[in-house]
Symmetry: C2
């Protein structure tokens, strides 16, 4: 399979917020569309915890991306007009430097010797990339889920670097319910004997822990309402069932199992732990003398579109409203949209009509 | 500690719905108040998955019960008037026969050789107890959570056996979100190597699996809203933290850990698996030719009080409304109450003002 990823070298001695320095670190990214001569049409997308930089297909990589329907010629984020950049988060395992990378100073994989990661580190790295591409100011910064928190860090740390912002299903700070869920996901991985303090390999891999973590993720990313319509109480045929005590029996159980199977070996467990904890740690109030509202009001933007979903239990609508009000207090022209998509937190990935219907006119109006 | 439990022998050859027969099985129960000469003041309480029959203190056992504030002289369920019976569910491990009991036919603990358990079995056993106590007809049947499903089975299987019903935070059938949560809890136990197909002992005990299952339970029993007010982003003092990678850091994490510690060794893992699966299996529509509404409308009651909580994500308000409407279609005089308690599914255990405020006048009016 061809690969559309490009790589950007971060500055030497890249200093991490909570201590530690990265040498020779890099970010993987992909781009679509053409940067204008004025370099004023750049759009940066910051992703959720697990996606790669491959947001959409391109000539170099024709496989569908994770936001395929949102991004491309004539799509809501129209690449005939915009030069779109999507970056794999610092700390991830899809080409950017993270716990699964080799530490050039030791020649060994970092594993849990990787410095503590914060979303501020991810934001600073993404900003270095944007500047490295010769872009002074983004036309628009888009952040989904964890990427929305990273975007708030980016905006707080780099005043004047962004004209417009699209904030999607995210949080100004992690709330205890989301912390509890993520903490339990991390615990499932850590308690798997194969995690072994981060020293696993393909033979001895924390498969069980990753599977439980992923299933819990999928449960909280979707909504009870959607599943009533989708799975009801439909059972698997008897030939689809495993012959073991308490084996899965309902379709919803095999749906979770299929999701887990796809994820378990495709995402590095240590990277998962680092990014999950970074999400818990994120708190915009650190950029506003302990006050979230002040921190948001310190952000300077011309325009913002803030979208949330009423069925999202992980990043509730009240947190999207808080972001919208805070940015408005900072002087931005803010449009707040509450969607009734049944798909919960994941709606931005699947309810393209709902999200695209708001993002398209916003982008066109910039 | 003294013990208020009494024991009732179920009929020999107690036949289980999904096959299998129990010999010499028993139910543990406790009672409060005095049965009237007419035997017309009996109230039966069916519990959630984990509680014992010790709903409230008594002269024989002065330790507080799990519904201490709801039950007693002058309390919402006033034991000066009512003869209250609370039963430990068949299949549980608090004195009633279940997977942790010895099979008299083999002399060995049942473990996963216990017959498949359904809530109908639990309902039939509870009905045998009531009849065994010489009670023809209950003045009121109260069911919480899983006990509410068991109560619907009791009402469906024993027409004319109950005058009034209090249904609390339960479901006419398990929905896929609840199935997904419970399936994941069971998986965490089953994948713990110490579960060992049910063959654990005190030395080799599925501590990890039970802990994850319990934490996931607590997360879904409460509500995000409550935790924002209760824990916010408060951190543990550094001397309360364990010195290990990714150790807990936030108060909400240690709250979950404390809950898990209390539960892990106090509830038998195999019993947990059986009762959890029985909850997934329950479907009132099996008592109405495949139609839940018909099944509910087949139930004959004089009065019913149906209470749900808007923040309950496991047993949503829509399911309480479905129960209320179905019972009303069956001719009962039904009062439906939607409470805004912030505590989610567990509100009936803690929001005594809210629940007691509805249960007290209902009971007084009977």
């Amino acid at each position: 399979m061809s690969d559309a990823r490009q790589y950007f070298k971060l500055s030497p001695d890249f200093t991490m917020k909570r201590g530690g320095v990265l040498q020779g670190a890099q970010l993987a990214y992909e781009t679509w569309g053409t940067l204008s001569a004025q370099r004023d049409n750049a759009v940066l997308i910051l992703t959720g915890l697990s996606p790669s930089a491959h947001a959409a297909s391109s000539a170099e990589d024709q496989t569908p991306g994770w936001w395929e329907e949102m991004l491309g010629p004539g799509k809501p984020i129209d690449t005939r007009r915009w030069h779109v950049i999507c970056v794999n988060t610092l700390g991830s395992c899809k080409g950017s430097t993270g716990p699964a990378s080799v530490n050039p100073e030791t020649g060994a994989t970092y594993r849990i010797d990787f410095p503590k990661l914060s979303l501020e580190d991810a934001a600073i790295a993404a900003h270095e990339l944007v500047r490295g591409l010769g872009i002074e100011r983004l036309a628009c910064l888009i952040g989904n889920s964890m990427g929305g928190m990273t975007a708030l860090a980016y905006l707080s740390l780099h005043p004047g670097s962004v004209r417009a912002h699209v904030s999607i299903s995210t949080a100004p700070q992690a709330q205890p319910f989301a912390i509890a869920i993520r903490s339990l996901q991390r615990e499932a991985i850590r308690l798997d004997p194969h995690w072994n303090l981060g020293n696993y390999d393909d033979e001895n891999y924390p498969e069980t822990g990753m599977s439980i973590a992923r299933k819990l993720g999928v449960i909280t990313y979707r909504s009870a309402m959607e599943w009533v319509g989708r799975f009801a109480r439909i059972r698997l045929d008897s030939d689809e069932r495993e012959d073991e005590p308490f084996a899965v029996e309902f379709q919803v159980e095999s749906y979770l199992a299929a999701h887990a199977r796809r994820f378990v070996r495709s995402f590095d467990p240590n990277c998962y732990l680092y990014l999950s904890r970074a999400s818990d740690w994120f708190d915009i109030s650190e950029h506003g003398q302990g006050n979230a509202r002040s921190a948001l009001a310190n952000i300077r933007l011309e325009r913002a579109l803030v979208i949330g979903v009423s069925t999202d239990i992980l990043f509730p609508l009240s947190q999207q409203e808080e972001i919208a009000e805070g940015l408005r207090a900072g002087g931005a022209d803010v449009e707040f949209v509450a969607l009734d998509s049944p798909q919960g937190h994941d709606a931005f990935l699947v309810d393209i009509d709902g999200f695209g219907g708001k993002i398209a006119p916003f982008m066109a109006s910039l």
